[in-house]
C-alpha cells in the first residue's frame, strides 16, 4: 500500500488490442480454471456429470452468490459488509416467528425481504449518516443481528413452515433448473446491467476509485453507498428466504461464517478488495468455481472444515498472485529496459 521507492513508468507505444486485453483478463483466467475444475471433477467422480447431481451442486453457491452480487458493488465502492450472514440469521428468525404466528407464504416473503432491507438500512445509516468505518460497524451489527436472533431463539429452533414456502429452496422451474438457479441467473443479469450499463454503476466505480473526486463531480456519494447497503441487506434477505425454505428450519447459528465465503467469492471474481475495480461476470465465474470445488470435494468425501481451509488458501492466493505477478513483470520490464 505504501511505497516511497521511485518506480519508472513505461508508456507503451500503442494500446493492447481488445482481443489481447480479453485474453489477459482475470475473467478469462477464471474461465480456464472453471473448465479445468469441471474436467478434473468429471474424471475424479463418475457421478459428477449427472444433470441432477449438477443441479444439486448449484445449491452450494446460488444463495451465497445472490449476496455476492450486491457485496461486489459494496466492495467496489470501497466499503465492506461483514454482517450479511447475521442478516440471514435475523431474517430467517423473523420469518420463523411469523410462520409460527400463522402467517402464510406471501407474507413470510414480504417479512423476509423487509427484515433484510431494515438491516441494510441500519448498516447504511451508520456508515453514511454517521460516517463510521464500515468494517467495524458491520462487525458490530453482525453481533447485534445474530445476537438478536439468539435472544429470540436461544437453543430452540423454528421448524413449522407452510408447505408452499418450500418452493423457494426446493422447487424447480423447469426440468433440473431449480428456482434458486433461476433466481441466480436473473440476479446476475440485473446486477451485471446495473454495474456495467448504468450511470449508477459508473458512480459506484468512481466512488471506489476516489470518493472525494466523485463527490466534487456531483455524485451523491452518501446516498449511493446507502443504496448499496440497502441492496446487500435485500439480497441477504432473499438468500435467507431460499436457505430457510431449503432447510425447512431456523436456528440462530444458520449460515454461520458465510460472510467469509461471500467475500472470498467476490475477491476471487477479480474485485479489488480496496475498491474501484471488478466485474459481475467475474463474480459469476467465481461462484461457479467455488460451487464446483465444494461439490467435487463433497463427492470425494472431504469434510466441510477441510474445504474451508481450501477456501481460506484460495482467498489469500487469489489476492497474492496478481501482486506477485505484477511485481515480477515490473522487474522484468526494468531489466529489459
Amino acid at each position: 500500500m505504501i511505497s516511497v521507492e521511485q518506480t519508472a513508468r513505461y508508456v507503451p507505444d500503442r494500446l493492447k488490442s481488445p482481443a489481447a486485453r480479453w485474453v489477459k483478463s482475470w475473467e478469462s483466467l477464471l474461465i480456464v480454471v472453471a473448465l479445468a475444475i469441471f474436467i478434473t471433477n468429471s474424471f475424479a467422480s463418475p457421478y459428477f456429470l449427472d444433470p441432477w447431481n449438477l443441479s444439486d451442486a448449484s445449491f452450494n453457491f446460488t444463495e451465497k452468490a445472490l449476496i455476492a452480487f450486491a457485496m461486489a458493488l459494496v466492495i467496489i465502492s470501497g466499503e465492506i459488509d461483514l454482517s450479511v450472514a447475521a442478516i440471514i440469521a435475523l431474517t430467517s428468525t423473523a420469518m420463523g416467528y411469523a410462520a409460527q404466528a400463522g402467517f402464510d407464504t406471501p407474507m413470510l416473503v414480504a417479512i423476509g425481504l423487509a427484515t433484510g432491507l431494515g438491516c441494510g438500512a441500519i448498516n447504511g445509516l451508520l456508515v453514511t449518516g454517521l460516517g463510521l468505518p464500515s468494517i467495524v460497524v458491520t462487525i458490530g451489527t453482525m453481533s447485534l443481528f445474530r445476537g438478536t436472533s439468539f435472544i429470540i431463539l436461544g437453543d430452540q429452533a423454528f421448524t413449522s413452515y407452510p408447505a408452499s414456502f418450500a418452493y423457494f429452496g426446493q422447487g424447480y422451474v423447469w426440468w433440473v433448473f431449480s428456482f434458486e438457479l433461476a433466481l441466480f441467473v436473473v440476479a446476475a443479469i440485473v446486477y451485471g446491467l446495473l454495474l456495467h450499463k448504468t450511470n449508477f454503476g459508473r458512480a459506484v466505480y468512481a466512488i471506489g476509485n476516489n470518493a472525494t473526486a466523485a463527490l466534487f463531480s456531483g455524485i451523491r456519494v452518501g446516498r449511493i453507498k446507502f443504496i448499496l447497503f440497502l441492496l446487500t441487506g435485500l439480497m441477504a434477505g432473499m438468500a435467507s428466504i431460499c436457505l430457510t425454505s431449503r432447510l425447512g428450519s431456523t436456528r440462530p447459528s444458520i449460515a454461520l461464517g458465510w460472510e467469509l465465503e461471500v467475500v472470498t467469492m467476490v475477491v476471487l471474481g477479480g474485485v479489488n478488495i480496496l475498491g474501484g475495480s471488478g466485474s459481475i461476470p467475474g463474480v459469476v465465474l467465481a461462484a461457479l468455481i467455488m460451487g464446483m470445488v465444494t461439490f467435487g470435494f463433497g463427492l470425494l468425501n472431504v469434510p466441510g472444515i477441510v474445504m474451508s481451509i481450501f477456501i481460506g488458501l484460495l482467498l489469500i492466493l487469489v489476492i497474492a498472485l496478481p501482486i506477485v505477478y505484477g511485481r515480477l513483470s515490473r522487474r522484468w520490464a526494468r531489466s529489459a529496459a
Binding site: 500500500m1 465492506i80 454517521l130 451489527t141 453481533s143 478488495i273 477441510v306 481451509i309 481460506g312 489469500i316
Partner: protein, 327 residues
C-alpha cells in the same frame, strides 16, 4: 495533565464501569464484593491479554481476525502434546504454545508486510486455515479433562499471594505492555506507523516490518491465551473460542483504540476488556439470558465506534493542509 485525564477516554470508561457496577449492585448487592470482583478480573484475564495484542495490531492500521483461531490451534497443540507425550514439562508446553502462536502471527505479518495484502483479507483467510488445521491435527476429536495432566490444568488456577496465577499473568502482561508502549522505540513505532505511515517512512521507520512485529506480538499473546484457555476450561476441540475475535476487537474499540490506527492506550484496552467482562459476568446475576450477550456486545461496539468517531472529529485547527493523499 489533569484536564487531559478528565477529558480522556479512560475516565469516561471508568465512569461507565462504575455506573454499570452500581446498576448491577442495585439488583444484586453481592456483586461488588472484593472476592467477586477479583473473580471477574480473573475471568476477564484472557480477554485482556488478547485485547492488548489486538491493540498493537490496530494501532498500526491493521486488524487481526485470526486471533481466536490462533488461540484455538495453539491450545489444541499444547493439549495434544500433553496427552500424547506425557513426559513434557508444562512450562515447556506453555513455551511451545507461545512460540507457535508467534509463528502463526508471523505468517499473517509476512503476508501483510511482503505481499501488501489487505490485513482483513489475510486474517480472514488464516482464520479459516488455522481452524481447519485444528481439525486436521485432531481429526475432530476432543481432548477432555481426564486426558490432561493435573499440573497442566491446575497451573493457571494455582493461588499465589491471594490471586490465581492467571490473574498474575495478565497483570504482568499489562505492566510489560505499559513499559513497551511508553518507554521503548518499538512502542513509539507502533503509534507512528499507524498515525501517519508516510511520515513514519520519512522518519526512518520500516512500516511493513513494524506491522510484522505487531502481528508477531498478537500471535504470541494468542498462543499464551491458547494454553490458558484450554487449561482453564479443561477441554480442547475445534471450535473453542469461536467468534471470540469479535469480543477482542470490541474490547479494543470500547477502549478507545481507533480503527484508523495510531490512537489508543494500554489502560484503555484493559478497561474496554473489563467493561465486556463485567457485562458478561453480570448478565446471569441480574437474570438476563446469557444469549443476550452477543447482541449487547454488538450494540456496545456500535456505540463505541460512534463515540470514537466524534472524539476524532474534535482534532483542532488545521494549520497545514494535507498535501498528499495517503493510499
Amino acid at each position: 495533565m489533569l484536564t487531559m485525564f478528565l477529558r480522556s477516554r479512560e475516565l469516561l470508561l471508568l465512569v461507565a464501569i462504575a455506573a454499570l457496577l452500581v446498576v448491577v449492585t442495585w439488583r444484586f448487592p453481592g456483586f461488588i464484593t472484593l472476592a467477586n470482583l477479583a473473580n471477574v478480573y480473573n475471568d476477564t484475564s484472557i480477554l485482556i491479554i488478547l485485547a492488548l495484542g489486538q491493540m498493537v495490531v490496530i494501532l498500526t492500521r491493521c486488524i487481526d481476525l485470526s486471533m481466536a483461531a490462533n488461540l484455538a490451534l495453539c491450545g489444541m497443540v499444547a493439549a495434544m502434546l500433553n496427552f500424547y507425550v506425557p513426559g513434557l514439562p508444562v512450562l515447556l508446553l506453555v513455551l511451545i504454545a507461545v512460540v507457535l502462536g508467534t509463528a502463526l502471527g508471523a505468517i499473517n505479518g509476512l503476508l501483510v508486510w511482503k505481499l501488501d495484502i489487505p490485513p482483513i483479507v489475510v486474517t480472514l483467510g488464516t482464520m479459516t486455515i488455522f481452524r481447519g488445521t485444528i481439525f486436521l491435527l485432531s481429526g475432530g476429536a476432543w481432548i477432555n479433562a481426564h486426558q490432561m495432566s493435573d499440573l497442566f490444568k491446575s497451573l493457571p488456577r494455582g493461588i499465589v499471594a491471594g490471586m490465581p496465577v492467571l490473574s498474575w499473568l495478565s497483570l504482568a502482561v499489562i505492566i510489560a505492555m505499559l513499559v513497551v508502549m511508553r518507554r521503548t522505540p518499538t512502542g513509539r513505532a507502533f503509534y507512528a506507523v499507524g498515525g501517519n505511515p508516510h511520515a513514519a517512512v520519512y522518519t526512518g521507520l520500516d512500516v511493513g516490518y513494524t506491522r510484522f512485529k505487531a502481528y508477531c506480538l498478537s500471535g504470541g499473546f494468542a498462543g499464551l491465551a491458547g494454553y490458558l484457555w484450554v487449561s482453564r476450561y479443561a477441554v480442547a476441540y475445534v471450535d473453542i473460542a469461536a467468534g471470540f475475535e469479535l469480543d477482542v476487537v470490541a474490547a479494543c474499540v470500547i477502549g478507545g483504540i481507533s480503527i484508523a490506527g495510531g490512537v489508543g492506550t494500554v489502560p484503555g484496552a484493559v478497561l474496554g476488556a473489563l467493561f465486556l467482562g463485567i457485562i458478561k459476568n453480570a448478565l446471569p446475576v441480574v437474570n438476563i439470558s446469557p444469549f443476550a450477550q452477543m447482541a449487547i456486545s454488538g450494540t456496545v461496539i456500535i456505540i463505541a465506534v460512534a463515540v470514537n468517531a466524534r472524539a476524532e472529529r474534535r482534532k483542532g485547527r488545521v494549520i497545514l493542509k494535507r498535501a498528499e493523499h495517503v493510499a
